[in-house]
């Protein structure tokens, strides 16, 4: 990628990220193995115990994550290439942060109203659309979902105080 602009500084290099992820894998592997030992990874009176299979799963994960870790500590080639550049991270967060807020809101407002707010906010913030484009999309999509799930297929989705007000 040949981005010459000053706002494309790498936030984190590929090598660092490789090491972090391999380290996390090793950690998960240790947790899996530890828990397998807790429930018993040997041979019980009636056959293999509950931890028999997961123990080896953890062991293979540990060995292969350590191998990836070693390769990346040894080699410095990934140092130059960026895992993510500053402006890329900004774009990713632009979608990720509102999504997280949307999910949190769902717990309180139900999924339909949160969806209206989420789509409207995103279109306004990222797409810079005028209100006359935002309103139909942000209302019609959740309304369509409502008809499809609550009325047509009778699959209940999380609802909040507003839907209760209307008797759903």
């Amino acid at each position: 990628m040949e981005h010459g602009t000053q706002n494309s500084d790498p936030v984190v290099s590929n090598r660092t990220m490789e090491i972090v992820v391999a380290g996390l894998f090793a950690l998960v592997a240790v947790v899996v193995m530890a828990d397998s030992v807790r429930v018993g990874n040997g041979w019980g009176s009636d056959g293999p115990k509950a931890g028999y299979f997961p123990f080896y799963v953890g062991l293979i994960m540990l060995v292969s994550s350590l191998a990836t870790l070693a390769v990346n500590i040894w080699r410095h080639s990934g140092e130059r290439t960026a895992f993510v550049e500053k402006h890329q991270l900004a774009l990713v967060l632009q979608v990720l942060v509102p999504s997280v807020v949307f999910v949190v809101l769902t717990a309180f407002l139900g999924i339909y109203l949160s969806a209206v707010l989420f789509i409207a906010f995103f279109m306004h913030w990222v797409g810079k659309y005028p209100l006359k484009t935002i309103l139909p999309v942000s209302i019609l999509v959740p309304a369509g979902l409502f008809v499809m799930f609550e009325i047509w297929f009778l699959v209940p989705l999380p609802k909040g105080p507003v839907e209760t007000m209307f008797g759903y």
């Binding site: 999910v103 979902l145 799930f149």
Partner: protein
């Protein structure tokens, strides 16, 4: 002649299967499925696997036969849809249509978009058709054969599936193993069905249910893909598609010229689909082979129709034949096949050899729907390309939040659990990071699906042998499968050694390997 009788029986069952399709509702579901599938294939962030996963809960109220017909048609539709974005926008809608962009997009740039799309759809159809023929005649044979399988044999086949990922993947074998084992570990979370023991729940009630792979699929493939697409700052600048009857007819007249390429692509695809190499490597392999053997090889990459035919036949043959091991052995050959398998389990149908005896009508209805579904798919895509192309012109800032909402709805409906939506987001971030560091997602998903099954067949095998691993070499069948699996597992090492030896000999140095 028992073989001939078997074939006749397959034909008879197939005709019965077509009888199941006589229900007009099933035909309607077929067209709905295809249309939804093309839409899913065209939109970024929605693909075959997570599209089927999201729509799965909606089918719970249907009969299993109608449901599987609709879901598999979504799958065919998604396979077709990937080609549209590749040719018109140079953006592969699905990983398996990357190779289609090499020659498909240059053709569109020269103003031959219609020809490129017709060639792509027709060769997709051809590839799928060959794979369905294969399924029709091979599935009953394999299922009959697999009836004699014991736990050791089943575990051996599963081992082969997973080792193939290591041997055939382009990623680092250690990363493949890591991703795969993560899938197995997540599958083990929750109540152990054999001993009743709680594993890795750490006192949490929510973890008691374990991880559902549908949530993982929606997060990894859906949210992860949205994050990746956003990062690339995607702007769709596409070519217009004009398809009319004349273009289609002219293209069809020129296609028989590429019969060798098409047949080779289908064979590569079928092979890669049954062994879980998958549609993506199959399409690349077929493209590479076509380029090597074609008379017009210097024109490849500049808009050669043969370069569209080759990857598309292979991708569709692979995508379709991935259902063969799923139906006969209960081992899916691709993530989407895994999601379909999950659907079967939810409807109380256990895929595997017994399915062909106990649920004859269902199996043959499905196989018959593959024939009709692909014909329906071809008709739908040839007639509706302009509509779907215009959907692609909707800006990403509108599409992205809508897809996130749809994914959230899909994740929630699996178990009506709010925590699943949170889990989906977490899987989305994991999918984004894994994609960027080239940890493969397919083995993770397959391990998550098959984890319990693989574990129980391993345990049963161990019970039979009282913990002696020699049971995996106790008869020629299981022994050869396990040996093949181990060859696959160590293939990266073996091939590296072979290459080293080759280069030594080529180098002219008089080193004779004594060891």
């Amino acid at each position: 002649m028992p073989e001939r009788e078997g074939n006749l029986e397959a034909l008879g069952s197939l005709i019965q299967g077509f009888g199941v399709l006589a229900d007009p509702m099933n035909i309607a579901y077929m067209f709905i499925g295809i249309t939804l599938g093309v839409l899913i294939g065209v939109l970024p962030g929605l693909g075959g696997a997570n599209g089927v996963a999201i729509l799965l809960p909606l089918t719970f109220s249907m009969s299993p036969t109608s449901a599987i017909i609709m879901l598999s048609c979504i799958y065919w539709g998604a396979l077709f849809g990937g080609a549209i974005t590749s040719v018109l926008f140079n953006i592969p809608g699905e990983p398996w249509s990357v190779a289609t962009t090499f020659d498909g997009h240059p053709m569109a740039q020269k103003g031959h978009a219609g020809e490129a799309l017709t060639a792509a759809f027709t060769s997709s159809f051809f590839g799928a058709f060959v794979a369905v023929l294969l399924i029709t005649f091979l599935a009953p044979v394999i299922a009959g054969f697999a009836l004699r399988f014991g736990p050791a044999e089943f575990f051996a086949v599963q081992l082969l599936t997973f080792c193939s990922f290591v041997g055939m993947g382009s990623e680092s074998p250690f990363k493949v193993l890591c991703a795969m084992m993560l899938g197995f570990a997540l599958a083990a979370v929750g109540l152990d069905s054999v001993t009743g023991e709680l594993r890795m729940t750490f006192g949490s009630v929510e973890l008691l249910r374990g991880f559902d792979f549908l949530i993982a699929v929606i997060g990894l493939f859906g949210i992860g893909e949205i994050l990746l697409t956003m990062e690339e700052g995607l702007a769709f600048k596409g070519k217009a598609a004009k398809i009319n009857a004349k273009v289609v007819w002219e293209t069809w007249k020129s296609l028989p010229r590429y019969w060798v390429t098409a047949i080779r692509g289908s064979i590569v695809g079928c092979w890669m689909g049954i062994t879980p190499g998958g549609a993506t490597p199959a399409s690349f392999m077929s493209y590479g082979l076509a380029k090597r053997f074609s008379k017009n090889r210097q024109n490849f990459g500049n808009g050669e129709m043969e370069g569209v035919v080759a990857p598309e036949t292979a991708a569709h043959a692979a995508g379709t034949s991935a259902l063969l091991p799923m139906l006969t052995l209960g081992i899916p050959g691709s993530p989407t096949a895994a999601v379909l398998l999950g659907g079967l389990l939810i409807w109380g149908l256990q895929p595997g050899p017994l399915l062909f005896i106990e649920q004859k009508e269902f199996v043959w209805g499905l196989i018959a729907s593959m024939y009709l579904g692909n014909i329906a798919g071809l008709i739908v895509v040839l007639t509706t390309v302009p509509v779907f192309a215009s959907i692609l012109r909707i800006p990403f800032s509108i599409i992205a939040p809508v897809i996130v909402v749809i994914c959230a709805v899909g994740a929630y409906t699996v178990h009506n659990a709010f925590l699943d939506i949170v889990m989906m987001l977490v899987f989305g971030v994991v999918g984004y990071v894994f994609k960027k560091l080239s940890y493969p997602l397919a083995p993770l998903v397959l391990a998550l699906v098959l984890g319990d099954m693989a574990e129980s067949s391993f345990r049963q095998a161990m019970l039979v042998s009282q913990g002696d691993l020699a049971i995996f070499w106790s008869n020629p069948l299981v022994g050869s499968i396990v040996t093949l699996a181990l060859v696959m597992l160590f293939w990266p090492v073996i091939s590296a050694l072979l290459r080293k030896r080759q280069s030594r000999q080529d180098g002219g140095t008089q080193v004779i390997p004594v060891k």
